[in-house]
Amino acid sequence: MPTPEQTDLTVRAAVYDSVMSRSKPFTARELSQALDLPLAEAKASLERLASGRVLVLQPESREVLMAPPFSAIPTPFAVLAAGRVYFGNCIWDALGIPAMLGCDARVETSCGCCGEAMSMSVEGRALQAPEGLVHFAIPARRWWEDIVYS
């Protein structure tokens, strides 16, 4: 019988495997089926991983919302990489996706102020002809007060 800590390692790996390979993390039910875990244990593990700030869960369904740098739902930070479309939680996370996948990518977003389309490309582990500026509105020590807003 695995300990909760062992289960959490397995669940964390499965969540990241799923989001990296198909752009969406497993649901609790899919985790239960893929890992042969009782559904209640899969849900409890997701809650522990959220408490440990490894994942962020949706407020009502308690399914994964963020497996940083990936978003489980579409955002204004689309990342085209490895033949797939991923979504980042913010521009930092969007750039984190090619960093994590170790591949080239194009980030499609827009100016936070006026909505003008903007993009960034990563090729060969380098940012290509970057334009614009990135604004961090919330001081670092307050990011986890409301990570969705941050």
Partner: protein, 72 residues
């Protein structure tokens, strides 16, 4: 964390939302932060979240200092 076309657009956005200006990074600094933060494989059982001290070291290594980047 949003991308803006220019400093003027950052200021306009802060004014519209009635928020103080935070920290402004170049895209290359943000890419450096993304690489430092997200390159590790979180499927690896050995992966763990950084401690406060380790996180502060990442910020310092990228030249991100000052009150905005302090964690305590």
């Amino acid at each position: 964390m949003l991308l803006f076309r220019s400093e003027e657009h950052v200021d306009r956005w802060c004014k519209a939302w009635n928020l103080p200006r935070g920290a402004v990074l170049s895209p290359d600094q943000t890419w450096g932060l993304a690489q430092a933060w997200h390159s590790a494989d979180r499927r690896d059982p050995a992966w763990r979240r950084r401690t406060v001290e380790e996180t502060e070291e990442v910020f310092r290594g990228l030249g991100l200092d000052g009150a905005f980047w302090q964690l305590r």
